[in-house]
């Protein structure tokens, strides 16, 4: 099954109808396993039980960036390869990515309160993710601003790619800004080497959330294809003379 085959929306729809139930079941299963493992995980020596927030915070943070990557690939598909389903993929992914970014911010904030004593800190990592969230919202606003989906697609594709290039730049400059004005208290997050007892639940949750994204993305793509079909038929209906 090559990408060319998937270029046909109808074939895509029938394929999606077949695999969605399996994807949903796999997602649910992995989420259940991951949640169980998170619950059973030991307490961290420094953070106590609040380390459990990591198991839902980190996958959301990873996904927030991964989804922008998926949208960037879709954007290339629209602009360079003119793949028919590329802009459907991009439009469907944006709200889901925004939701994951929002969850990353909020779970991070709730994790930060016990760890740092404040719900928000203008440090490099949090600020970069906040800017990423704003960029998601801006992208969604752009999709909604133009009525014709295919025209909106070109504009959104350009913005997505500009954003993809900009994200490393933003990260770098925010890092630099943050080291210029050292905040009063800077606490470093736990070391990068995670104990297996934490690493395994984290990885399971990461895979589970990725599957969740793929399931939601395919379902949303299906909705978008149907929505365009409705639009085309409505325009046809409007141009037909009525008895």
């Amino acid at each position: 099954m090559t990408l060319i085959d998937l270029a046909n929306p109808t074939r895509f729809l029938s394929l999606t109808a077949k695999i969605l139930p399996w994807l949903a079941a796999a997602t649910a299963l992995l989420l259940a396993i991951g949640l169980y493992q998170s619950a059973m995980a030991p307490d961290d020596y420094q953070q106590g039980a609040t380390v459990k927030i990591m198991f839902i915070h980190v996958p959301n943070a990873w996904l927030s960036m991964f989804v922008w990557g998926v949208m960037s690939l879709s954007a290339l598909g629209t602009l360079v390869w003119r793949h028919p389903l590329a802009d459907v993929s991009a439009k469907a992914a944006a709200p889901i990515g925004a939701a994951f970014t929002f969850l990353a911010l909020v779970t991070g904030s709730l994790w930060g309160r016990p760890m740092w004593g404040t719900y928000w800190e203008w440090d490099a990592r949090l600020t970069s993710v906040l800017i990423l969230f704003l960029m998601y919202l801006g992208l969604i606003a752009l999709w909604r601003a133009v009525e014709d989906p295919s025209r909106a697609a070109r504009a959104a594709a350009v913005l997505t790619l500009v954003g993809a290039i900009n994200i490393p730049i933003i990260k770098f400059s925010v890092d630099w800004w943050n080291t210029l004005h050292q905040p009063a208290s800077v606490l470093r997050m736990g070391g990068s080497t995670l104990d297996k007892a934490f690493l395994i639940p984290l990885l399971v949750m990461a895979v589970a959330f990725s599957l969740l994204f793929i399931t939601l993305h395919l379902a949303a793509m299906r909705n978008e294809i149907l929505r365009r079909r409705v639009r085309a038929l409505q325009m046809q209906q409007a141009s037909q003379p009525r008895a």
């Binding site: 904030s109 404040t118 719900y119 928000w120 800190e121 203008w122 440090d123 600020t127 906040l130 800017i131 704003l134 919202l137 801006g138 606003a141 909604r144 601003a145 133009v146 009525e147 800004w177 943050n178 004005h181 905040p183 009063a184």
Partner: protein, 222 residues
């Protein structure tokens, strides 16, 4: 009465649709507030002091941005001419449009304030105070802004002119809004006076705004 209700519902529905730009004001508000720490520095204590001011400035600029939608779309498709010529008094039409605009553009700003207060390290008291003053003051911003929007309606690319016209009129609202918010934190006894003046400004705007806007529309569209 039902004509005005229909107008209200239509304006709200149009604003919520694609291209209507209902929630883009909130997004702009969010961005402006996020921009401030980059300029001012991430020191949380300083942000806490400046918090009410930053929120008020952001809300002012955000409500300003969406003002040109008040009459521009209707002017473009001709419905503004119809509204001017209808039996319903133009003043009441303007009032209804302003109410619809405030519901769709002003109210979301107030709802977004607690979240932004968190980013600026404001405590619950301060955030509540800012939200309350915004509730009292944003109608004033909408009504005075409507005057500028009516003046600029016939001009293409009138966006910045609109801002230049409206901002001086909005300064009293800004002053009392920030004063009330700061008073709520520093000396709660002094909260009542600026808040009352804010309400008075909104009520005055309620009367003057539609009158002036209707007059501008009549003269501008001739």
């Amino acid at each position: 009465m039902s004509a005005l209700t229909a107008l209200l519902r239509r304006d709200i529905q149009v604003a919520l649709r694609i291209g209507g730009g209902a929630l883009i004001g909130v997004l702009f508000f969010l961005i402006v507030v996020v921009l401030m720490p980059f300029a001012v520095g991430p020191d949380l204590a300083l942000l806490k002091k400046l918090g009410p001011a930053i929120l008020w400035l952001g809300a002012l600029l955000a409500s300003l941005l969406t003002l040109d939608r008040l009459f521009a779309a209707d002017h473009d498709d001709g419905s503004l001419d119809l509204l001017t010529m209808s039996r319903t008094p133009l003043e009441l039409v303007c009032l209804t449009k302003a109410v619809a605009h405030w519901l769709v553009a002003g109210l979301p700003l107030i709802v977004a304030t607690p979240i932004l207060g968190l980013l600026l390290n404001l405590d619950g008291n301060a955030t509540l105070a800012v939200a309350l003053t915004l509730l009292a003051g944003t109608p004033a911003l909408t009504f005075t802004g409507m005057i500028g929007a009516a003046l600029a309606v016939a001009l293409r690319r009138g966006g910045l002119l609109l801002a230049v016209l409206v901002l001086p009129l909005s300064i009293p609202v800004l002053i009392f809004g920030v004063a009330a918010s700061n008073a709520a934190v520093l000396e709660p006894a002094g909260f009542g006076a600026p808040l009352s003046i804010l309400c008075a400004l909104s009520l005055a705007g309620l009367v003057i705004g539609p009158l002036a806007a209707a007059a501008s529309l009549r003269h501008g569209l001739d």
